[in-house]
Structure formats: C-alpha cells, structure tokens
Symmetry: C2
Subunit: 276 residues, 2 copies
Amino acid sequence: MNKQELIQQIQHKRSFLCVGLDTEITKVPQHLLQTNDPIFEFNKQIIDATAPYTVAYKPNIAFYECYGIQGWQSLEKTVRYITQNYPDIFVIADAKRGDIGNTSKMYAQAFFENLPFHSVTVAPYMGEDSVTPFLSYEGKWVILLALTSNKGAFDFQCIESNGIPLYKQVITQSQRWGTTENMMYVVGATKANMLKDIRSVAPNHFLLVPGVGAQGGSLQEVAQYGMNAECGLLVNSSRAIIFADASEQFAAVAGIKAQEMQIEMEELLRKYSSLI
Amino acid sequence: MNKQELIQQIQHKRSFLCVGLDTEITKVPQHLLQTNDPIFEFNKQIIDATAPYTVAYKPNIAFYECYGIQGWQSLEKTVRYITQNYPDIFVIADAKRGDIGNTSKMYAQAFFENLPFHSVTVAPYMGEDSVTPFLSYEGKWVILLALTSNKGAFDFQCIESNGIPLYKQVITQSQRWGTTENMMYVVGATKANMLKDIRSVAPNHFLLVPGVGAQGGSLQEVAQYGMNAECGLLVNSSRAIIFADASEQFAAVAGIKAQEMQIEMEELLRKYSSLI
C-alpha cells in the first residue's frame, strides 16, 4: 500500500485510528472459548465491528507467538481475513524485529512474503543493515522504533550526544535509508510534547503513535503537536477498544468505542490537517 | 540451567562452542528434501554430530519464522530434541525480542514456557521494562545485545555520551536489572579489540560472541581479550560448521569442523582460563 492510498483512506473514513489486536486468551469472552480458534473468532468479530472507523490494524506478534504454532495459525488467519475482506486497510506486524542483514531478510520474508502484512515495526539498535532488507519490497513499510511509550524509553532513547537525544539521531540517520513513502516512526503518545520537536526533523513522515487510552496518552495533544497537512498520524488504541466489554456484546461495544474515537479524530483532522 | 552447570559443561567438554542453527532450506543437502521436515532432519543430524564438542545451540528464530507455521514446527521439534537428548546443553533462542513490559512478558512465555529454551537474546532499545520480564524465570537467562557483529553496529551502538559509547551504557545500566547468574551480553567477534574495554565494566558476565568464522572474527583474539577465569565466553559459529559440506556427509563434516574448534578452544581455555 502506498502513501497516497493510505491518505485517501484517512480522508474517506475521517479517521486515523489503528486498532491494536493484542488479543489475550484470558480476556476473550467466555462464549467464544468453545470455538475452534477463539483468538481468530474474537479478532474477526472485532474487525467486522470496527473496520468502518479504522484505517489500520496492528496485531502485536508477541500475543500470538506466546501460543506457539496455534498462535501463528490465529495470526495468519487474522491478517488474511483483513487483507481479503478489507483490502484498503493498512496492516502492521508489530514485531519489533531487527538482526544482521542476512537475518533481517528472513524476517522481512516472514511478514511480507509468507504473510501479507503491509508493514513491520523494526528496532533500530543494530543499524542500517538490520533495517534495509525490509525496505526492498515495493508498497511495504518499515515502522522504526524512535521514542516508545513505555517507562524504559528513558533508559537509552533519550541519552544525548552533542545535545541530540538518541531517538532523534535514529530519525535523522534513518532518513538516508528510507523515504516518506516506505518508512514511518513509532512515537509514543505518552511523550506527546516531544512530537513538536520530532516534527522539526521529520515533517512529512507518518508517525505510528501507541499509548493512547489504557497507557494514558492524550489524543488531543498528539494531534496538536504531531499532525501535518496530510494527517501523518496513525494513532493506535488496543485494550480500550477491543476489551471494552467482555459480554456477548463485546464486538458491538468495540465498534462504538472505535466510532467515538473516529468522531474525535474527524474533528482533529478538520482542525489540524488540510484533508477535510 | 544455572551458571555453575554451564561452567561445568565447558570444563567437561573443554569447549565454549555454540553452534548456530541458522538453517536455510536452500542450503539443506538434496537428499533430505524428500523427508517430512527437512529442516528438523538436518538439525537433528547436525546436533548428533556436533554435540560432543558443543556447549550451546542457538537457533536464530528468523530462519524458522520465515516459513510460518511449518517453521515453528521445525523449531519446536529442534529445541525439544536438544533438551530431551542433550539436557546438559544450553539452548539459546536468538530472537532479539524486546517490547513494552506486558508484551515482553508474552515473548518470555513464548520461549520459556511454551518452548524449553534456556535463554533469549533481547534488544535493549526499549529499556528496563522490556528486559525484566525475561529475568523472572528461575534458571533462565537474558542475553542482551550490546555490541553486535554487523556493519550497522556502528550506526548507534558506538554513539558517545560523556565519552561513554551506548553499548557500554547498556552493559553498565542493565547490571542493575540482572546479575551474572541470569544475564549475558552479545559482543561481536568482529570487534574483539573492544572486548578488553567491555571486560573492564563486566568482568564476570558471560559473553555470547557471534561473528567468528564466516563473519570474519578471530577466535584467538576473542579469547585473549574476552576470556576470564571461568571462561565467560560462548563463541558462536554457524555457517562455517553447519554448511561446511552439502553432500550426504554433511553431518560428519560438521562434526569434524566442530571438533576442530573444540581443539582450538581447549588450548585457549588452558592459556587464558583457570578451568583446565
């Protein structure tokens, strides 16, 4: 999926919502546990209910990998269900992979060839050759970790060299490897005030922003400091949508929660972007 | 597996060899391609041939993940084969995972509960809460990326703050999270001359050293600068052993290559450690 297609979808749905499919079996409603593949069944119903308000889905791979082969089956069914039924929606493998060149190539193959993901989150620690293998696929994206939403983000990401924090060096240096057409950055919503500074070095890149909702980030602030004319944001919400209700109505409630975010996002798009 | 057990094995086998099971289907000998699971069949024969000279096996997860469910099956069979038949051998999931706390917990579950790995390589970029969930398992280890063996290692790992390179800050700061009993560091053999400096801040930790052999690092230099009285090294070789021969004799040749390294290692243990 190219940048223009993603922007068109944002414009059409008046939303920049990414729904995180971090599906924990212990939180799946009781009545689904008798089905063949409760995690896929849960995801399928969440997807159908939220798709009108959502421009991206982001399964976090850890939540599937922890169930081994069975988990990978649920993951594969989920991503194929999205791309077959909602081909306009951008699908992110939140995998945070990264290894030496010839190994990163295998990870790229895992998510871009063996599975039909549009993008993978990649960790920058190992540098250029750990990232570039993911960039050699037409229409596929790297979403590079810059400033994450967790407490530990401050341990290394903000270490300064010549007054420049590491996350900013990651953003500037990686712009030599990819373009605004195949690279995005992860910037946590819990650090929304730093978005203005990030926009000074990456004005046109899309930013994937986790940490809104359960993790405490503010959508209003993210849009105020991070949105550009083309929106340039995918804001992820996971638990606050998919686990909003644990009854048989879970999907309908998730749909309502997603719609509430879409309405808030429409207003922010009107205020800060030139899309609507 | 605890530190003492690992050291005993090194002493007993007079080896600190780790064999990297980075099994590419395109390099598996022709005659195995007709079997049900060529990758597992290849690994099994490599393991049986090299086990007398080897103290650790390290499947790189990317090489399995790239085949999806089938790859995870081969991986699971491989690690169970090792732990059942060679229970003394240390098994490393070279996964380079790392995510926010509640997600790293799922990765830890994947490798330590669902699969019987003894250790996982972890990327430090996301800081403390991305690492600690792996440390809460008795007898399991984190192997934290410090200074890797690839070209891109210089992009961020050597960035200096107050004269201290990032990889060294990773090593010093992470010593507050784990101990010499549950944490090791990845230090590439291609940077052997930096091992002396690393030993000044981590004298007693085990170091996992990739990059010997195909990647060009020198075993002699690694031992000279990196070995401590208890050895403190696991040196990985992958392609140079497992793909040394592509005929029906591949396993026997791999065994010979592993033995050659063991003999070299025995000499180095005699010279630089107090184990033999």
